[in-house]
Subunit: 246 residues, 2 copies
DNA sequence: CTAATAGTGTCTATTAGACACTATGTA
DNA sequence: TACATAGTGTCTAATAGACACTATTAG
């Protein structure tokens, strides 16, 4: 196959973001209101074009910062505000009615933010419960997300749900310092199940390198003061945290 | 951000394939010899441009068929020859010196093929042991793969290694009918470890839906005749097959 | 016979899951 | 006081890993 720049079709390449957080015991995704056709007025995932001299990860980090103010690990060596990873790429020829667009979706996990959104290029932005966005396949069509974003969101949610099983990624949903109970509520919100607090406590505190005690305590959840921890260096969780209802 | 087709940069989009198989107790990848600059004469992963009206998965299946003759599940309802899934997307601005190319890499797992390659658009094609292609970081530079293909291959190998832990994907490396011992040798080759044949047998035959006895036996591995199985419908492997040396 | 692989059984240390109980804060 | 959450201990059923033993072929 000859390699002539004029012989292959030109594509637009975008990054779309599945930004997840846990708010009031519910897994939520960041959505933006579309200001233009097509799908004007509908909710969509945040995203935008990759620039001419920009890496895919950089483009995703830039969009994340524009929409939320969150800093992914990229910039310098300070601890990141959010976890960011590539999710999958969507390139159905008919996914955008205007032109051929290939979207490299990324998954971002962030702690609950005080301000729901910051300035971006989108009109309105909101955290919406994932159950609302994806619940009932038919509901997806009436109030659904634009383009193939429901599919992308579903893939991102499934990635998050499975990845917290065998990694310490759930701590990305927590602030820098958190309690065992708060971490447990993250698992419960993401999986939509109830976990035994005592077994959970034994499991996470017994896994070396997962949690590092930071010294203080807090009563922000009520009840007896709970120890504060920060995420340890361990990224793999072995043996994994098992999702119930197998 | 205005959505004007003339305002965004144009990208070329390709699919690259990490095609893995197990040959003579070694995990091997399909490589093709480059006939043109850049990297002329070096080995590379098979791949090619996505066509104007082609889905990404279709492009990957087409390239796989062109290079190996293998049929992924796409075409019709017959059982597929090979497993094919999207791996990740690589879009560093400098990954191709000629132009901006975004490559959507795919991972294919195939049984050992009698003919190493079939007709394709590449000059020579070979199965090369993964350990040769990736062993010793410095060795990668002298006899290494073109572009960022060493990185792509490493990601694909890691995906395969982790995915056979918790799925029945290892059967994609086996012919339609296989023995427990042959399946065990797949795990041993992919992970590069030795597994206890007795515990392995108990594990796989005790997981419902993983293996379905097909009735016959074979002595193609020598020794006592072994039952033949085919892959069952179960795709998830729960509890997972544990990789030793944790 | 030996050598090879297939397949079953048994023992033990570990652990997930269930749950009783105590500790320490707020209303 | 009642009530919330935090944290520890104990019991049991399941299982991964180690390994003894038998079965059935080829040479």
């Amino acid at each position: 196959m000859p390699y002539d720049p004029s012989e292959f079709p030109a594509f637009a390449v975008t990054v779309d973001l599945v930004v997840l957080t846990v708010r009031r015991h519910a897994l939520c995704a960041l959505t933006v209101r579309r200001g233009e056709e097509p799908f004007r007025g509908q909710w969509a995932l945040p995203g935008g074009f990759v620039r001419a001299e920009e890496d895919l990860a950089s483009a995703a980090a830039r969009e994340l910062a524009e929409e939320t103010g969150l800093r992914a690990q990229d910039s310098d060596s300070r601890p990141a505000d959010a976890h960011l990873e590539q999710l999958a790429t969507y390139g159905d020829p008919s996914r955008d009615p205007r032109m051929r667009v290939v979207s490299v979706a990324h998954l971002a996990l962030a702690p609950d933010l005080p301000a729901p959104t910051a300035g971006g290029d989108a009109g309105g932005a909101r955290w919406m419960p994932v159950s609302k966005l994806l619940g009932g396949q038919d509901q997806a069509s009436e109030e659904g997300l634009a383009f193939d974003h429901a599919r992308i969101l579903a893939d991102g949610v499934e990635r998050a749900r499975s990845k917290i099983e065998y990694s310490s990624l759930a701590t990305a949903f927590c602030p820098a310092e958190f309690t065992v109970g708060e971490l447990r509520r993250v698992y419960e919100a993401v999986w939509g199940v109830a976990l035994d607090p005592r077994n959970f406590h034994r499991k996470v505190t017994g896994t070396p390198g997962f949690l590092v005690p930071v010294g203080g305590t807090t009563t922000r959840q009520g009840g007896r003061p709970a120890q504060l921890f920060r995420a340890g260096g361990a990224t793999e969780l072995n043996p994994p945290m098992l999702r119930p209802e197998v």
